[in-house]
Symmetry: D2
Subunit: 264 residues, 4 copies
């Protein structure tokens, strides 16, 4: 893959931000098995989201995702959203608008990646797993599949289940619990509304380690969406909230993506 | 200069952030005039701060500061603080603590730069000019000289003089005007207290273009500190709020810095 | 401009190499005057070449070229070719093929830049000035204009005019003087053949400081191409072989480029 | 780890080159298990070398080495040497002098890494495995342990065992087979001389996959050094010449390194 480290002005945020991108190449140096060229001009693309304390560089550094993606001939776009929970913050910048609208627009204008729904995917870990699932439920017209790894699925349970956020930071992001509940940042409510409206959702994937402090809320989310009749590919097994788990499971996500034949 | 692009975990922010650093080298390729090696083991260092919409990469990209600094044998550390006004935000992260405490600590632990007051300097443009002046007035024991270029000097005048901040963003950062007035983020109040306490301040430099929308508040700040008996090197002249001005004036700042003989 | 730092596998070289690229943006942070969006989908592009001891990062670091290019709405691609003189080395890799064929191909496949002759330009300093002029004379069908700043124009004069190359390195690159003379790496011979064949050459620009150790060979090259009836825009004036000169003159080059109306 | 991407002027090469470095941090974001702080001021350091077609960025991108190294509290320095075989090339630059002398000097002057033999280690894959073993045999006073992964151990066997180098490139690097045989670039000869002189060698580690095209020469090298009475930790098993193998085995190398207690 060509590795691209990009710094650009995000109009939505009024801020210069970083973005790492890997793009399939026609040929490689030693030791890489590469998928074929894309059927058309544009590559399928995975938007790969970071966790609370991380930035756009973290997936490349903590895993071998660039190498794994090469096998599938898929581009990967890794944005940076600070500690925003991919949210239009109650007291802060509009990161949801950024990640769901401006980012794909900018990435498609700079790089040879497809804008078609069937070529667009999202995944992430922890806060980024929440972000990816939110993209799938709230912008289902843009993504063919989304995957949450060890996601922070239940933003209403943060206070009593080992929250990554202090109370005051929760308020900057989501406002009060009352404001959060049922809002467009509540994955449980989003999935209910999607089910009720009969929206054509992307393929959904969810995994979590059974030792993860977020395990209980992952089980609840799984049960919730399944009770709504929404299809969900779910995996659990031994594992904690760490990069060994995510390095292993991002490979499972890539294998699970419904890439079109011509692309691989 | 060796160019160093660094990504590290800022404990104060709970967030991975970027930092660009340039360090003098013993030899150079063609076309660079270099200052000598440092007298001791550690280089003097200029903390160079970005403006509201920028990041840690901007000074390197919009000016030739790496080349200019080479002449003086001085390292330059360029952090990233998002749109924080170098402030412990009322609704947001503790960027002041980050820039005034953690950043120098991390930079000194990773790179061969001096921690001595007489070797430490700060400068910045716009929001970063404000930040540099705040470092000088509020952490005077750490810096031998600070310089503001086209600084946002009067945070109380933002609403009626062409503010870079919308009202709500102002509140996230500073709280209300009443909270901001007289606080440790108010440069006018900080300078009064420093004068009253007889603090030994760093050398201060301030410049602004006469066409700059921040010109009036720069004049007020100049008059204020001088009325307090604080020494200030002040320059004004034709110029607007743009990078042509800052590329020219960062050279004046470097020439003005009280670098010790052995270092150049 | 979006700043893109790219690492990719150059098939011609069998080697991973770096490339820096700046691409116009729709909006900017403070302090930048930007040219308009492109008339079509693709930006005009300047291939900007480094000198003997430099790499793909040097133009961004030693000048403000990203800022200057923003005014014109033009992308800039900065490759890396080590100490190769943009040559298929007699004892070394095929850098000419890389820079003249693979590089534009890769850049056009990764980024939204035009492949049309009228939108393609090249410039460089010292060894890169030689490289840009060689692109113009030897691949005239690809470039609408090329510019040499303080170029190493006469590879036959290196031994008696202050050569940047030791004898043995000269041989690795060009072979013997006898091999070099009249070859496709000899700008004097290339210009003769282009004139004889009546090739439609790009616009040519050449500048050199009168204090530059390469001044004499720049004068000879100017006289030579003019004696052949080839149009050449030539500038000289006080100046040495350094980045102050190149920061000033890359601005003159950008202003001189025959950009099509719709692009600015 | 702090990730540092550095561009500096290598005096030995007359060329600006890249270097990636990771340095342990005092604290980390989520999902990383970190080793303790160093006992002294300086971190132990692993020089980690790339293969023929790669550059300084490749280990970070193709493996999770930054994460693995965090567990041990060890810094990692990843230089770039193009296709040089870490050799003072017969027709090319002095990459051996660069990697064995200038690189440690520059890295120690820029970063908080130890210069003591007991804290210095080298490893690499393929061409880099050869390079690491050469550092161990030819500069044994500088390294406490070196490791070759799938190394190109026998530079005399390149022509009949699936050479990565064409004949002409072999000559640029090593000269003729006759010149190479017994030279200071021949690992077999180096190990003989070290054994004869009774040099105190670093700990040596070697591994190779049994499906690797370099397997036969790895077996020969193992047998050779053991026949000389030199201690060698050797591992083989199923595996080919690819990054899956190297991602797995760099973890084994890190676990094998004789790090001093205080450091972990």
């Amino acid at each position: 893959m060509a590795l691209i480290q990009c710094s650009f002005f995000a109009q939505t945020l009024g801020l210069n931000v970083g973005m790492n991108v890997v793009i399939p190449e026609r040929s490689y140096g030693i030791g890489v098995e590469a998928g074929g060229a894309p059927s058309g001009d544009k590559y399928p693309v995975l938007y790969l989201l970071h966790g609370l304390s991380d930035d756009h560089s973290i997936w490349l550094r903590r895993t071998s995702v660039e190498r794994y993606a090469a096998e599938y001939g898929i581009a990967v776009v890794m944005p940076e959203v600070h500690r925003s929970f991919y949210t239009n913050m109650k007291n802060g910048l509009d990161y949801w608008t950024f990640v769901s609208e401006e980012l794909p627009h900018v990435a498609q204008s700079l790089f040879p990646i497809s804008g078609k729904r069937e070529d667009n995917f999202a995944a992430g870990l922890s806060m980024g797993g929440y972000g990816a699932m939110k993209l799938g439920l709230r912008a289902p017209e843009k993504f063919a599949a989304v995957a949450s790894l060890s996601g922070a699925m239940d933003i209403l349970a943060f206070d009593h289940e080992g929250s990554p956020l202090a109370d005051k930071e929760y308020k900057w992001i989501f406002g009060s619990k009352e404001e959060a509940a049922g809002s467009d940042d509540d994955l449980f409510a989003l999935s209910e509304r999607a089910a009720a409206a009969g929206v054509s959702l992307p393929k959904l994937y969810q995994c979590c380690g059974t030792e993860d402090f977020l395990y209980a809320q992952n089980v609840r989310f799984r049960d919730h969406v399944r009770s709504l009749g929404i299809a969900l590919d779910y995996e659990e097994g031994p594992g904690d909230h760490n990069w060994g788990y995510w390095d292993a499971h991002i490979q499972r996500v890539l294998a699970w993506l419904p890439l079109r034949r011509g692309n691989v």
